[in-house]
Amino acid sequence: MTTAEADVRTFQQTALDLQDAIARVIVGYESEIRQVVVALLAGGHTLIEGVPGLGKTMLVRTIAGALDLEYSRIQFTPDLMPADITGTTIIRETESRERVFRFERGPIFANIVLADEINRATPKTQSALLEAMGERTVTIARQTYELEGPFFVIATQNPIEMEGTYPLPEAQLDRFFFKIAVGYPGPAELELILDRTTVGNMPSVTAVADGKRINAMIRLAREVPIAGHVTRYAVDLVTATHPDNPKAPAISRRFVRYGASPRGGQALVLAGKVLALMDGRLNVSYDDIRAAFAPAFRHRLLLNFEAEAEGVTAESVLSDIAMETRPEGA
């Protein structure tokens, strides 16, 4: 077995172990867990959306538990201030009774940050995450602090409670690698959830990977080659969401106000690479791109008023685009 083969095996196994570890606590949601793992191994941030009580926070806590990484949780509320996230400079008295400024790190300085109910904080506070998520740095009082990798923000939000919430601005949304929609569990899964969570001994999770391994896996994923025709397929999918593109499907031209950005295309390709490695392959396939399409694009599509009026969702638009955009040779 060559080193590369071993590397791919290790990657595959670690990803599998991670999913298994999470699945030991979280019942069902296999595809959602897989999507979170893909985003994680691609080095991206994840926005999890679902109604209250579905276990979103539990999922993030479990992921943090499955990784031997520093974890912090920020409960977003309307009175949360940016400094509460990034940290602040405070005056401290030394033993020699000397008063000095010292930077007190906020909860953003962790490997895994749970931004719980992110849409409850004001846009000002939400924006405190922008620099950290995009550049993995925090600038306070003209001093820039680098965040140690791996760094993941996993945010949750509730789509139904609109009162007292502040929808994330597009710039903020675009920084999320994937948006994962969590739905209701099925009856069998619900039964299992009730059995597991209403007893004395709750299942626990053990760490399966540390920061170094995760970093190495992120680097390996970026080394996976992708053929020109597969990249072109990703490009076609991105441009198919642009309403001003004359070749875009009719549904895009009719219902989309703004389509996906190049960052969306990056997410598509990176997720494709991770999925290829998780499948034990050293190249990206059309299927990988297709699998990443909905989670990578559903939050990057801004629909127009007509779509809202007709009850058209981003999901249905993406589904049509995926069907109508044919890859080369297919």
């Binding site: 060559t2 080193t3 590369a4 083969e5 590397d7 290790t10 170094k212 391994r213 970093n215 190495a216 680097r219 390996l220 080394e223 996976v224 080659p225 992708i226 053929a227 020109g228 025709h229 597969v230 290829a276 499948d279 392959r281 050293l282 190249n283 990206v284 396939s285 059309y286 299927d287 990988d288 080369e328 040779g329 297919a330």
Partner: protein, 504 residues
């Protein structure tokens, strides 16, 4: 796991993997060609058979086996070309690799590897990816992945076309569906000939002299349709051509060398005239000076006469010029071309004559049928008159037989009269009440006011005065029939053409 753990060395066996990969792709390319060619075979066969069928039908329609054959050969050639092109045209290796991936489900391994090998950029995992792709590609049983299998639709299509072709070739043509299909595709002239032949056998031959009539409306309609087609086929310039040749002949008759040619032309022996002209063209060197001069003048006259036909005229003029300048070879060549044109014109005129004869026969038959009360219902009757032929029902037939078979009610008779008038035909009734169809050609020289309108006389053995304006042929050929009374309900029609007799 450290970062070094993922620092993968480039495999030494990249070249070998690449070669293996190319081998797999080449095998797949070959397989694609063979399978696609085989799968295309039923469609190609169907195309060729269809072309053969179309060729036969078109050949029948145009009365030309050569055109039909050409279409069939063209179809076969196109099919074979398509197959050969398909067999020889190899897809690009990259396209073949992608097709291989998609066909076998290799998740774009092979196409990615092919691209990586050709790319100047090397990823760290390139060699491993190529090796992985080569391994997967070589594990594929290409024959199983890409089996032979023409589509069922193509096979069905080929079978249907083959069955149609077989049916067409083995179906008896003289009856049933075979005859119907044949009649659909036969050229109009042949169809007409068939109609006339069939009718001649069954009805036309006996109709004039017996009581048999064209009682079948379908047959009547077919005859009428045939007549229309014949008229459309008629060449309106035939008379002018005949006149032209006549005048040319008269001109050439004035010359000693071309006298025979001219005589034959005026005698409408175009074949003989052409032959005589060819003979003359071979003996130009034996003409003396005066004969040569006469011939030159004759040809120039002919050129002037035929000035309406620029080609003909220039051929005569060129021949004259060549003769004048002692270019006998050129003159002979021109004369041979003129001979050929005369021969063609002769053929054309013969066809036209035959056509006119058929038109006349048909018109006669239709009028006979109409006069006998047969054919379509009165409102449908529309055998319009043509040519100079003027006939009426009862021509040469026994009037007593016909008089009893008019078979039209009074209102039907009235409608028939109206219809015929609408078509520009004049109608009138003879003393016996037989309907006469007369094409009026006004004789402008005739002092019409000097002629009184004919007097209607009823009773036996009365003379029917005929209108001299009836046409240049003078009379309507009809025989009196005094055995029947004129029905009272045709009085209005009668009054339009006859003045009441004095004292009646």
């Amino acid at each position: 796991m450290s970062a070094q753990e993922f620092a993968v060395p480039i495999a030494d066996g990249l070249q070998k993997a690449h070669n293996d990969l190319l081998g797999s792709v080449t095998r797949f390319q070959r397989r694609i060609r063979i399978v696609q060619t085989t799968n295309l075979l039923p469609r190609a066969v169907a195309t060729a058979l269809f072309a053969a069928l179309v060729g036969q039908l078109v050949g029948l329609r145009l009365d030309s086996t050569s055109i039909g054959g050409a279409i069939a050969v063209l179809g076969a050639f196109a099919s074979i070309t398509l197959l050969v092109w398909r067999l020889l045209k190899a897809p690009e290796p990259r396209d073949a690799a992608l097709a291989f991936d998609l066909r076998v489900g290799l998740k774009e391994r092979v196409s990615t590897a092919m691209e990586l090998v050709d790319s100047p950029h090397r990823f760290e995992l390139t060699s491993h990816q190529v090796t992985d792709a080569a391994k997967h590609a070589s594990a594929v049983r290409i024959s199983r992945a890409y089996p032979f299998g023409p589509s069922r639709a193509d096979l069905t299509l080929a079978f249907i076309v083959a069955a149609l072709l077989a049916a067409w070739n083995f179906l008896p043509r003289d009856s049933g569906i075979g005859a119907s299909i044949t009649s659909l595709f036969e050229p109009p002239a042949e169809r007409l000939e068939d109609d006339v032949t069939r009718l001649g056998e069954s009805e036309l031959d006996v109709a004039p002299r017996s009581t048999a009539r064209l009682t079948d409306p379908t047959t009547f309609d077919r005859l009428r349709g045939a007549l229309d087609q014949l008229r459309r086929s008629s060449n309106p310039e035939a008379d002018a051509l005949r006149e032209l040749l006549q005048q040319t002949g008269e001109s050439l008759r004035q010359t000693r060398p071309a006298r025979d040619v001219g005589r034959r032309l005026t005698g409408q022996d175009y074949e003989g005239a052409a032959e005589a002209l060819r003979t003359l063209s071979e003996s130009l060197d034996r003409l003396n000076t005066s004969e040569r001069q006469e011939l030159i003048e004759g040809l120039r006259d002919a050129s002037d006469i035929t000035s309406d036909d620029p080609v003909f005229s220039s051929q005569f003029a060129d021949a004259a010029d060549d003769l004048e300048n002692f270019r006998d070879k050129g003159a002979a060549e021109n004369m041979r071309e003129i001979a050929e044109r005369i021969q063609d014109a002769g053929g054309l005129l013969a066809s036209e004559e035959s056509l006119q004869q058929r038109i006349a026969d048909l018109e006669r038959a239709l009028r006979q049928a109409l006069a006998d009360g047969g054919g379509p219902s009165p409102s449908e009757a529309s055998p319009d008159s043509g040519g100079d032929t003027q006939t009426s029902g009862g021509d040469d037939s026994d009037s007593s037989d016909l008089s009893g078979e008019l078979g039209l009610t009074s209102s039907a008779r009235g409608s028939l009269v109206d219809d015929l008038e609408e078509m520009g035909l004049e109608t009138r009734l003879d003393a016996a009440g037989n309907l006469e169809i007369v094409e009026i050609e006004a004789n402008e020289q005739a002092p019409s006011e000097d002629f009184e309108r004919p007097t209607l006389q009823l009773g036996r053995d009365v003379d029917v005065s005929l209108n001299p304006l009836a046409g240049k042929l003078g009379t309507v050929r009809s025989r009196r029939d005094s055995s029947n009374q004129v029905p009272l309900d045709v009085a209005s029609v009668v009054s339009r053409y006859f003045s009441p007799a004095e004292g009646e």
